[in-house]
Symmetry: C2
Subunit: 391 residues, 2 copies
């Protein structure tokens, strides 16, 4: 397995290549164990305690940190420790960097590019005066979403492992299992690879059994036992020790005696599959995110199914929702996130689903990498509802 | 062990009692798995994905969250799910709450009261117009730092467990152990109680062996083996499954054959102990934080030792550095945090240390609760340098 230090150094170099001459990108953090700065987690594997400033230009990188945090700053950053006050050290560094334009992590639409808190921002305004502080969103969104080859490989590993866990589940599932039973089984799979569920032990995986279940980000406490004639839907991913994660949905059906897949289930699955296919065909470099969602959404509706109440897809990386361009509808709450253009090297999920009255939820989610002329599937597409063996 | 849900409900009620009539406290969060809002972690054990607003007044509590997060909101909050846009639901709630003054989590000095990011703040300004958004710092600082009886009990448990782990270490320690050996041993202790090191697996405990070691917040990779004539200093705490943690420093000495504790070590320890005693005697309700630090600092200096380069003490709770009033010097980087007045029910660390040339670091840290007429020690004070048995 690839070690995480390599990713951090690569991302720092990638960030520096994205900076224009005269630009200084400032990642500000404090008590980052309690209030992690997502950009800092991407560029340097370090927690800081006191007010800390990570300064990055095209050709230089410096970290102003409290004395006791100095040892934890990784290679590649010039460490500038301070004791009582960082202003003296910062002024020296501003003399060295001579910035023309200072960028900080502010974004109204992308939570992972919005790492700067208001109180710390106000301190920065004083420290950096007379410089104005501009948003680093354009830079950071691209840095997060465009994955290096090593990151793509790490994501592929996370997908492979999740698929193996889902296969193990399919073989282990028994009539009578409840959602908490499935959760327990998947958590054991995670622990066995020293990983963790992609969106946390207390909310991943999401499991839906039978016609009464409704999708939720919460860990299901539903005690409906799996019985013949029911769908089982699972949304699962694993974060491997290198820090990158996967996000996959699969749908299984437990048939009644002698039964195949009911036609309503078959049809709904087919519609979901085709809608994802339509989205995948639209996912090309240069296309704005909302168009990819619109293609899938229109297909699903044209086949007689209701619109899904979320985005078709999101970036995938260290975070399950990794920020950057969103493949989502032009709804107010998505704001500018869906206006970004798809880029080569980005990794997205493609996901949607639909209820089938009397059976349960059909949901599909695949993970893909955008290439020059199309995309590469990281996951092995689910092409049909998988039947569970009655036991 | 106390279950965490109880703490969250208690803290919500405590917060409501601190609110004035007409005040509305808004905790705003999104993608809180990646960017936790410390105030939300204190009041409700929930992760949210989309833009979410937790609204609290003296007599009402409502949570506006995305549809798929609704199931995860704990009891005690009226859940208001939304799909495409939260504005409609928010306006209904503003009609219900009729706030005269809106408070949000902004603080220049207290990182744990500075949970609101700049981009989300700008969205809030639009959503809440024409209301101005005021800082909730005074409220949140007090809420975090004044512990309920149940929280004090949970902290006492975390201290007791950490002390048991340190005793186990003292008996296990062997000549030749390095800092990483000590870290491994303490991590095993944590895992055995299903806890975690108070400031994380990759930075706690901090271990210093021998005269070359220098204090740092980083996990020591120092390979200096423990040998006779050396001090071993450890800064350690454990967070128990209920979420509350401890923070303790202890100092041990491995004597040379037939030797007792060298007089320089003895003297330095005595000076540190007296300085902490002076701080403890000053720690009374109503005293500003900096005065407590000043008393300890002056004592240490009067005994001929250099000033420690940090604060004498910090709040302790769910976070190791739990925010609120800081017992620190009036240095620029501590800002207003040291101006707060000590309150009954607050839990603080008292910590300082000094180098002893040729032997290593002497450091002490105790955990205390402020009472009406003094304080209660949660930790069993270390009153002398503990000798390690040569093995």
């Amino acid at each position: 397995m690839l070690h995480s230090d390599r990713f951090h150094a690569e991302k720092r170099l990638q960030a520096q290549a994205l900076l224009a001459p005269g630009e200084l990108w400032v990642i500000a953090a404090r008590e980052s164990k309690e209030r992690p700065e997502p950009a800092l987690k991407l560029l340097a594997d370090v927690n800081v305690t006191w007010d800390s400033l990570f300064l990055l230009s095209r050709d230089d990188a410096a970290a102003i940190v409290g004395r006791f945090d100095a040892d934890a700053v990784p290679d590649g950053w010039r460490v500038r420790p301070y004791d009582a006050d960082l202003v003296g050290v910062l002024n020296e560094e501003l003399n060295t960097f001579q910035p023309q334009r200072v960028l900080v992590n502010i974004s109204e639409t992308d939570p992972l590019c919005d790492g700067l808190t208001v109180g710390l921002y106000r301190r920065l305004q004083g420290w950096f005066a007379p410089h104005d502080l501009h948003s680093a969103e354009h830079l950071l969104g691209q840095l997060r979403s465009v994955k290096t080859p090593a990151e793509q490989q790490a994501l592929r590993e996370a997908v492979d492992v999740a698929e193996a866990h889902l296969e193990a589940l399919r073989h282990a599932l028994r009539t009578g299992w409840t959602a908490p039973d499935v959760v327990k089984f998947m958590h054991e799979q995670c622990a066995a690879v020293e990983g963790e569920p992609s969106w946390g032990w207390n909310s991943c995986p999401n499991v839906h059994i039978g016609p009464q279940a409704r999708p939720s980000h919460a860990l299901s406490a539903d005690t409906q036992p799996l019985a013949p004639g029911m769908l089982l839907h699972i949304d699962y991913g694993v974060r491997l020790p290198h820090g990158y994660c996967s996000d996959i949905q699969r749908t299984y059906y437990l048939p009644r005696h002698g039964e195949g897949i009911p036609s309503e289930v078959q049809q709904a699955f087919g519609a979901c599959w085709q809608a994802i296919e339509e989205g995948a065909n639209t996912l090309r470099p240069g296309v704005p995110g909302w168009q990819v969602d619109a293609a899938a959404r229109a297909k699903l509706v044209s086949l007689g199914y209701p619109e899904y109440q979320h985005a078709l897809g999101h970036g995938l990386g260290r975070a399950t929702h990794d920020g950057g361009t969103l493949l989502g509808p032009r709804w107010p709450r998505y704001g500018a996130a869906v206006e970004g253009q798809v880029r080569v090297g980005e990794v997205y999920t493609l996901e949607l689903g639909s209820f089938v009255e009397g059976y349960g939820f059909v949901g599909l989610e695949e993970d893909v990498v955008v290439q020059e002329n199309g995309l590469t599937w990281l996951s092995q597409r689910q092409n049909e509802v998988r039947l569970l063996a009655p036991r």
